[in-house]
Amino acid sequence: MNFSEIGKPRPRFEGIDQVTGKSTYVGDMYLPGMLYAKGLLSTEDHAKILEIDTSPAKQLKGVRVVITGHDIPVNITGPIVQDAYCLPIDKVRYRGEMIALVAADTEEIAEEAVSRIKVKYERLPAVFDPRDALQPDAPIVHDEFQGTLCNGNLILMHGHDVSRLVHGDVEQGFAESDLIVEHTFATTPELGGAIEPYAVLAQPNGADGLTIWAPSQSPFANAGAIAKILQLSTNKVRFISPAVGGAFGQKAGYFEPVVALAALKTDRPVRYTFTSKEFFLHGSSRSPMYLTYKMGVKSDGKIMAIQRTTLTSAGAQASVGILITHKGGFMGAGPYYSPNHYAECRVAYTNKVPGGAVRGFGMAQATFAMESMMDIIAEKLGMDPLEFRLKNVLCDCNNCSPTGENMKSIGIRPCLEKVREMSGWQA
C-alpha cells in the first residue's frame, strides 16, 4: 500500500507551545469577577466527623461561600460504583480527603478561611494493607455499603467477593508438569507524575447552566457526573478539557462538582488550582497489588499451567480498582500460551487515597510478576530466558488467550527477535 501521509513523522501540534510556555492551562485562566477556591483536606486516615464548624471561616471578609457535604444535592458519585462522597459528612476515610471548600476574593483569603474551619474528629483505627483489610478484626472502611457494594472490606465484583478465571484444568496441567514454581510479588502505588497539578474553573451561565474547564481525560463522563450531582440535565454542563500538562490516567476528574456548586451559589466564576502538595496528597496513584503466581512447565520448557491469585488495594473508594483488578485477571498471563489457566482476583478497601488509572492499568503489576516468573523458571530449567519466552509465545498455532479468545495479528515473537538482534543478546 502506498501512503501519502500515514507513516510520516509529524511533531505534535501542541508540542512547541507547551515546551515554550505559550499554552494556556486552566491554572492560567482568569475570568472577570473570578473567585478563588481552596479545600480543607482531612488530616486523619480514618475518623468520625463529630462536627464541622464553618462559622469562623464565613465571618472572614472576602469569603463568598463555604460548602460542606450537606450543601450538595446528590453527594455521591463514582466511575464504576457509587461510593465516593463529593464531600464526606459522617467520616473521613483517607488522609487528604476533601471535607469542605471555600470560595473567596483572593487565594490568600480562601487559605485563611480554610484554616479557620474547625473539625472535631473521633479517630478510628485505620487499615492500609489489603491483606490486613481482609482480617476478621479489620476496621471497616465502608460500613454503609455492607452486602450491597462490599463484604467487610472486600469490594464486590459483578456481585461476588472474588472474580475467577477458569480455562482448561490447571490441576491436570500441574500433574503433567515436570517443574512447579510459586512466588508472591508486590507492587507500589506509583503516581502518574503529571507535572501540571489539577485545576478547575467553573463559570455560571444563568439559565444555560455552567461551563467547566479542567485538564480531564474524560470530559463527557465528568459532565454527566456533575449533572447528576447538581441535578441538572447533562446538556447544561459544558465541560472543556483545554491544554493538559500530562495525565497518565491520573486526571479523570476530582472536585469539579464542588467548584461548580460554589460558582452556582455565588453566581461568580470560581477557580481552584491545586498546589503541588495537594495534588501529591489527593491525586490517585497506581493501585498496589499482591500477586501470587504458580506455574507448571515441562522439562523442555513448555508451559502447562498458570495459576494466579491477586489482591488489589483500591484505597478508600472503589474508583476503577474493580476494572484494574479485572484486567490484570484476564490478561495477567502475558503474551504467552498455556493450555490451562486459573485466576482468583480480589480488591479491597483501605484507608488510602483512592487508586486510579495509571498508564498500564492492572497489566503493569501483572507484567512485573509474570516476567519475573519467566526468568525464575528459565533459570531452573537451565534455559536462555529469551529462548524460554520464544518457546511459549502466543502465535498463530497457539493463539488461544486465557479468556478463550483466538488472538490474531500477534507480534510478540518479532518483538522479542528484534530486541535480541538490536542488543546482541547473549544469555
Binding site: 484486567k327 519475573s372 507480534g411
Partner: protein, 344 residues
Amino acid sequence: MKRRGHGVAGCIYTATVPGAPNPEAANVQMNDDGSVQIQIGGVEIGQGCRTVICQIAAEALCIPFEKVRVYNSDTGVTPFDMLTASSRQTFVGGNAVLLACEQIKKVLFDSTAKKFEVPVEALDIKPGFIYIKDHPEACLPIEVAAILSYYVFRQLPIGVGQFYPFNTGQLDENMQGIPCATYSYQATIADVEVDTETGVVDVLKIYTALDCGRAINPLLLQGQMEGGAIMGLGWALREDSYPLMTRVEGVHPEFDPATRPTSFADYPIATAMDIPDIETAIVEVLQEEGPYGAKSAGEIVHNSAAPAIINAIYNAVGVRIWDLPASPDKILKGLKEKQQLEIA
C-alpha cells in the same frame, strides 16, 4: 564493585475499556476552500491524538496534512467520546474519522460525476484530485469538487462517523470471552550496572521493540516508547507514593501514612541524569479492523521496562526483587543474604 547484567521482558496490552461498548464519534467538515475541520471528543494528553487524527483524515481524503485541523474535547461542541484512556484514541477515534471521511468522499465523487457527466464508478481519487479512471487527464482538484458540492450540486461535504468496536463484550462468570478490540505487543531488554557497595542501580541501555500495528506516526511512537521506558524505570527503581507500605513480607514497621511525598523534590521520578540511551524499534503486525491497520500504543510502553530492569539486576548480582521499587537497601539486603547463604 560494579557488576553488569542484562534482562528481558515481554508484554501484551489491550485497547478499549474491557467489556464496555466503547462508542466513539467524529464530525468532519470539508470547507468550501477544500480545508477540513474535525470535531472529536477525545482529549490531547500528550499522546498526540490530534496530530494522528489529522494524518488519518488527510490520508483518507487525499489532501495535504496542513489542510486539516482538529477541534476537540468540548462537550458543548464536539461529539461523544467515552473517555481518553485505555489506549483507545487511535483505534476508535481513527475509525470514527475514517467513517466520516467516507461520507465526504461520497459527496465529492457525486459532484465530480455530475460535473464530468460520468457514473460515480468511473471515478477514482489521488492526492489532490478526483479523476476519471480511464482518462486520468480529466481530473478535478478536490477543493473544486468541494465548492461545486456547496453551491452548485447542493450537497454539503460533511460526515458524521460513529464507531463501536466489533465483538467485544462482558466476559462470562469464568472470565471467558472477547474483552477488548485489539492487542499490542512489546519486548524490552535492559542493561544495568549494580554497585555492590551502595546498592545503587544504573540503567545503562534500554532496547525496546513495539508492535502496535501500523505506525501512523513513527516520531510520536518513538516518544511514547521512550517516555514509557523512563516511567517504567522510575517505577522499577524509585517511585512509591506510600513509602515502605507494600512489602511481600509485611508492612514495614517504619511505615507512616503521615509522611508521604508532597512534591517532585521528594518523589524521585527519573530525571535526565538517570535516563539511559533508549533504542526503539517498530514492528508492524497489522490488524485489519484498525485504521490503516493500527492497534494501540499509549500504555503498553510503560509495562515491560520495569521487569526487564528487575531481571537485569538478578542477572548482574543474583538478587531477586519481589516487591518494587528495587531500592538500594533491598539490593544490599539481598546481597548480604546471598553472602550468608554461600558461607553456610
